[in-house]
Symmetry: C2
Subunit: 428 residues, 2 copies
């Protein structure tokens, strides 16, 4: 089953002005949709974060991928490596999101191959990963401090007619009260049974007080996580960690680098999680030697695909790490892929992250995937179980063209609100 | 694609009186052939070491496996675990071969599932493992000290008419001259470009002198390995290791246990390999902490299948271990499976082990798989690329029935030559 053609569509999804250590989300989140067509006419799809460099790399690689077998991941990865080059150490960058190119391209191609293999076989991607252990996957509600606004053409404006979560999605949340209101609306709409607080941007005291207010409001049965994206100094992380001790399920990337994480982990004695200090297979030996975290937030977009994520799961099991999932703003294709992975993981101890409630657009047939009681049900096969809505895709493509955005840059967006604002590796 | 039926056929393959730390090979090597038929009538096959306990376990599990999806490895493993029980720590046993039950059953089922999936897709098992990196797989010539005899109905008798390797296969080899003659005939017949000496049974001086004689005869360009199967004391291993230093590619299980291996590895500074001290995923953390070996001889029959072996390969790459393949006496189904795995391994730095030249029977259509210039070419798909020769299978099944053997017991066989001989964990 050989590749006949690859089609790459950059799209833009409406995204609200969410605050994070890197700055502020632009009015659109960028994604790339890959469609793979085999010589026999079957189609597989996938979705990755949008970045003009990855997009151009995949476009340059497409001719050399033609005629290659969808089964031959090694050969496909070889072509991508030859065209895009290896991701050098440090290529991830210091910001919350991952800037590596090759891993994104590998993920795009691998997921589309698995989707098309699933179509050929009439089985689900989760079956190709060893079979689903669960039919429903728990996700966490992902809370953000934010400015008022819905993103997209509305920008910082709001639609005063909106109600429920649609209204809360537009509302400002810049303190404990705002975050609690956001959480309540999100739980009402989606039923999440755990919550994550994106931190690292406001004063740490404000962020931690908001987290403690969530505990006060929702009680001890709702696991809470907080993620300052390594923007806190060691001393700040210790001080705030002491306040959070006993309250949080895990403390995600409070400080930067495996050494500091390991030291903090020993000092505080609370579970640490990361998607910033242990982000690739090459990071694992030092992670184990140092003991830098308890939980790895993997992401199949960054770890080279779904099969590599299953290998990571084995590694985590062997070496006593828990594995869960990091999220970027995404549409239904990635949501389905994450859910197939989660379904196939032998052990799933923490609800996956997802930005999905923050998006309102959708590009898959049937529209928004329904999160109920905090769970997404594994889509029925074949493949990923989702297919492209051509009209919606075209709308999202036009939004990309009109947006003028080429890659994520939360610093520029933040400067529109706070002139002169600069990203800092350690802010507090 | 669900399982309709499983068929299990115990077979016996003629095997010569080969010496090893566990004693002496019986006149027949036992295997179990598993045939899996799907509801749609496709067939997948696999082969594992023969042991009445595993055979009966698989037979008990068969009814509960019916109707299960061939994709759903987790569910299939769950059924096997429920029926056979977990392999407890220590279940491997102290002898050169692995006595665990569940891992064998998992391997049997997984390989047959991959074979049938390959048939359905029209692709090779290597494709399902990520795609072949190489089309030809290097194997090492596996030398044994042995008594005169061909095994099978001939027992310790010989066929005086035989020539070439067929003659050498019958000849005694109890010293350096005998082993060099055996090596020369094996290389002439199969073209092996590396050699392994099975040790741990004769006086260590005899075994090491034979190894040094191989170097003398074949020169430094032919990598040599020696495997005393942990039958040597630490002092013996140090003394003989000093003699072998600079001569051998690796020193396989000279001593017993990860601690002794790690100490010896530091003391000698030569590469150590194992299939006895690090034999399952649970062994890996202490292996890494201690540094017990450089090379893991995996075996998909013992590590839970081919996909688990690929996961092990990732682990080995991350943690600086080389990965190669252990062998038991086997027929063409296992030979094909080993070759698909080797073809798909991203890195292959050492020729795989194989007992294959010692067998003369074959149960696959077309008869003996040809080893040329030390390589086996990856069988063309679909699946494993081999299918059962029904007549040959029936002959091997009848040989099993006539043999009266139920499991491997090299101690009993050895006692026929040396009354009162007993297996010893450390002999020299």
């Amino acid at each position: 089953m050989n590749i006949e053609a690859l089609s790459l569509t950059p799209i833009a999804l409406v995204d609200p002005p969410l605050l994070n250590a890197g700055g502020l989300h632009a009015p659109y989140a960028l994604r790339i949709v890959l469609e793979l067509v085999t010589e026999s006419g079957l189609t597989g799809i996938s979705e990755i974060p949008g970045d003009i460099d990855v997009l151009e790399g995949l476009r340059r690689a497409a001719p050399a991928l033609r005629g290659k077998s969808v089964f031959d991941q090694r050969a496909l990865a070889g072509v991508l490596t030859a065209v895009l080059g290896r991701d050098e150490p440090g290529a991830r960058g210091d910001k919350p999101w991952d800037r590596r190119r090759l891993v994104h391209a590998e993920s795009a191609l691998e997921v589309a191959c698995l989707d098309v293999i699933g179509h050929r076989l009439g089985c689900r991607v989760a079956d190709l990963l060893g079979g689903p252990v669960r039919q429903r996957v728990p996700y966490a509600g992902y809370l953000f401090f934010k400015y008022e606004g819905a993103g997209g053409p509305l920008g910082f404006d709001v639609d005063a007619e909106a109600t429920g979560w649609a209204r809360a999605r537009q509302a400002a949340a810049l303190d404990a009260d705002g975050l609690v209101r956001q959480a309540r609306a999100m739980i009402d709409a989606f039923g999440f049974a755990s919550l994550k607080v994106k931190a690292g941007i406001l004063e740490p005291d404000v962020e931690v007080e908001a987290t403690l207010a969530l505990r006060e409001t929702f009680g001890p049965d709702l696991p809470l996580r907080i993620d300052p994206n390594a923007a806190w100094s060691y001393d700040t992380a210790v001080r705030q960690g002491e306040r959070l001790k006993g309250t949080i399920e895990y403390y995600e990337d409070p400080v930067r680098g495996q050494e500091a994480m390991a030291r903090l982990r020993t000092e505080l004695g609370i579970p640490l999680a990361t998607n910033m200090c242990t982000t690739c297979f090459e990071d694992l030996p030092s992670s184990l030697a140092l003991g830098s975290e308890d939980i790895i937030l993997a992401d199949h977009h960054f770890w080279g695909g779904l099969r590599a994520s299953m290998e990571l799961a084995r590694l985590c099991k062997v070496f006593g790490r828990a594995l869960t999932m990091h999220s970027n703003s995404h549409a239904g294709i990635s949501f389905a892929a994450m859910t197939h992975l989660a379904a196939a993981l032998p052990e799933l101890t923490h609800a996956f992250d997802t930005h999905y409630p923050w998006q309102s657009d959708e590009i898959v047939v049937g529209g928004r995937l329904p999160i109920r009681d905090g769970y997404l049900t594994l889509p029925d096969g074949p493949g990923l179980g989702v297919s492209l809505d051509r009209e919606a895709l075209e709308r999202a493509r036009l939004a990309y063209e009109r947006s003028g955005l080429l890659r994520r840059d939360d610093e520029i967006e933040m400067q529109k609100k706070q002139p002169g604002w600069r990203f800092m590796k350690t802010r507090y």
